[in-house]
């Protein structure tokens, strides 16, 4: 592994030039923040993702997609991270789409994703921490359908979504992975309460309340009680996508900081001449390279169906979260006072890294997974 194919390099270049030109901070993130956009991202840009074929990357060829897989997704996500581009790409095209694979819901929603018109969300977390194996939201059989009671939070772009995939408990207790069922619930579902919450980075995540919400049996995605096995690949894809976006965030913050070190003068010297800063910048460079390698390795293993894939996805997410955190802290510190201002972009990287760090499990969650999967 390690080397990209020519096709992958081309995809990387396409994504890089597209996102630098169209997805930049001034054009997207700051614009939507300034006008108080309820979605936190632009639908026109989402259309352009589709026109370039990017939304098709993770959709199987048999369903009209490109079926390119995890490595390609990683390349695009890194560019998204580098530009802090707000978009539904990770949640919709990488994670949620994966949970639908092979069901009638895929036929229903894939065309919209391919066209850049559909937004999907995943409702997994029920508390402040990611714990997908502890689902409590209850789904009781009622007549021909189910009755849902409970709540979800940190449903990224949940209030913008045309459909939310909800993980619910149809049997067993919250400590079991059996008995989880996924439901595809359309936005107009009666009785579903959605609170649109603005996060620290100006992205949006919903809190959702279900009080005796009645859904039809055909909202079930896949098999009843067997949702865990369907949820897992979607989580792996989401974790890896978030890891790759974090690598991009780290890389973008580092590039900006290195620029600053090359131009800011104090004591009659460029501050980049000071060895105290050079060593920290060089250390950060090494860490970012390592985090990128971990993400690419996890992608390769996922594509190969290798049994170590889950381990390396957790390694990639934990490592990328650590490294992005370091990159943004060093970024703000090395910028000095200007780094504390809202006017400067470096702070936006810090905010994004914080949100991505939590998304699909924080570094403590993934270190725990590494320990458990390694048998200690």
């Amino acid at each position: 592994m390690g080397l990209l194919t020519d096709d992958q390099k081309m995809l990387q270049e396409t994504a890089a030039s597209f996102l630098a030109a169209e997805g930049g901070i001034a054009k997207q993130l700051r614009h939507w923040r300034a006008i108080g956009c309820k979605d936190g991202f632009g639908h026109a840009l989402w259309k352009k993702f589709a026109e370039l074929g990017l939304t098709a990357i993770c959709i199987p060829e048999s369903e009209g997609g490109l079926g390119l897989g995890a490595e390609s997704a990683v390349l695009v996500m890194e560019e998204i991270g580098r530009n802090l581009t707000p978009s539904p790409f990770l949640q919709t095209a990488i994670a949620a789409s994966r949970a639908l694979e092979g069901t009638q819901h895929a036929e229903r929603w894939y065309p919209g994703i391919l066209a850049g018109e559909t937004i999907l969300a995943l409702a997994i977390d029920e508390g402040a921490r990611h714990a997908p194996d502890r689902i409590a939201l209850e789904a009781k059989r009622k007549g021909n359908g189910f009755l849902l009671n409970g709540s979800k939070q940190f449903v990224v772009q949940g209030a913008s979504a045309d459909m939310v995939i909800v993980a619910a408990r149809t049997s067993g207790s919250p400590s079991e992975i059996n008995g989880i069922t996924l439901f595809a619930i359309a936005r107009d579902q009666a009785g579903m309460e959605i609170e649109n919450v603005a996060l620290v980075d100006s992205s949006k995540a919903a809190r959702m309340r279900f009080e005796n919400v009645e859904v039809d049996a055909d909202t079930v995605v896949g098999e009843v009680d067997a949702g865990w096995h369907r949820l897992q690949p979607a989580l792996f894809a989401g974790r890896l996508g978030a890891a790759a976006e974090l690598v991009g965030v780290a890389s973008g913050a580092s590039t900006m900081t290195l620029e600053y070190l090359r131009q800011r003068k104090q004591f009659g010297k460029l501050i980049g001449e000071f060895q105290a800063l050079q060593h920290r910048a060089a250390h950060l460079y090494c860490e970012i390279e390592i985090a990128r390698a971990a993400a690419l390795k996890a992608a390769e293993l996922l594509e190969d169906g290798d049994e170590r894939a889950e381990l390396f996805v957790s390694v990639a997410k934990a490592k990328a979260a650590d490294v992005a955190n370091l990159a943004v802290r060093e970024g703000v510190q090395m910028h000095g006072g200007i780094g504390m201002t809202d006017e400067h972009d470096i702070g936006l990287f810090m905010k994004r890294a914080a949100v991505l760090g939590e998304m699909f499990g924080d570094r403590y969650y993934h270190r725990e997974r590494v320990a458990v999967l390694s048998g200690y």
Partner: protein, 385 residues
Amino acid sequence: MADLATFRSDARAWLDANCPEEMRSPIRSEADICWGGRNWTFQSDAQRRWLAAMAERGWTVPDWPKDYGGGGLYADEARVLKDEMRRIGARAPLTSFGISMLGPALLKFGTEAQKKRFLPEIAQGKIRWCQGYSEPGAGSDLAGLQTRAEDRDDHWLVNGQKVWTSYADKADWIFCLVRTSTQSKQGGISFLLFDMLTPGVSTKPILLISGSSPFCETFFDDVKVPKDQIVGDVNKGWDVAKYLLGHEREMIAGMGLGTSGSSVTLGPLVKPLDPFLRAEIAAFDVDALAFAAMSERFAALWKAGEAHPASPSMMKYAGTELNKRRSELAMAAGGSEALEWDTSRSRAGATSRAWLRSKGNSIEGGTSEIQLNIVAKHILRLPGA
């Protein structure tokens, strides 16, 4: 690709037939490594047979050309062979500075005659090499070296002292940086090869805090070196040295990462684990596994010529810092039992000795601080670096 599958099954069958059972367990200590050389005493008959079988196929250096004692394998085949060896837990049949450092430099800078003369002996483990780089006054500032080589028409006359020469007392030959001109610092260095039995060469082991002596002081007193034993042009030795340092840094960075490549944990842990220690080990494993991915990626990029020329410094820095952390954790995980120094129970204090030895990893071959300087200057292009 059908060919590659055939190669895999052939290699598998051959390894099954030729790799002795005793050679299919992890290398646990220095004593298990086969270094070869004129005076080498094999640790076991299995070690002897394993080296002989592999050397005959050229598989001690699978990707070197057959003419020079190598296996002549393509990169893909070499990777498959590595996979297959890993599958059965086969040890490296031969470890040497000839393979990891001098060989690649000779392949790039050596004359045809030098390649024919020196490479097969390296491949077969007949000659053990050591590296004469550091001097008492030239550590991090390696190019400041003072060992002189005077041109005496039919030979070079070498005088001076090296230090931190790994295994100089056990090596047969030395590749050595010498000063052939004082006109220029880096442009006055040449790269010589000579036999350690040459009159005027002497060594003195240095006892380390770990209780072992892998390094020596090496003295040259009117040592006569034949003219054809210079690699590259006169005063161009720094180019060879830098190229070779890249390989050395790569080698040190890979140390201690385990042979399996899949698991870089500390091995069996005594349970129940202290929860704080467990958390630290998990954080370490994240870093170690991520670095394992980086090593693999780096190797592929390096082979394809896509890696930055200064990137071995990154690998060396990150790998050795990681190895030091691993040793700290191994000490913590072992508790008071890790403190035992010479009991057989502790395999002669293997944990504490490895811990102390690991401290040198980020010093030898260029300190961590020097590696960071190189990254800052050559990769990040920071001003004044």
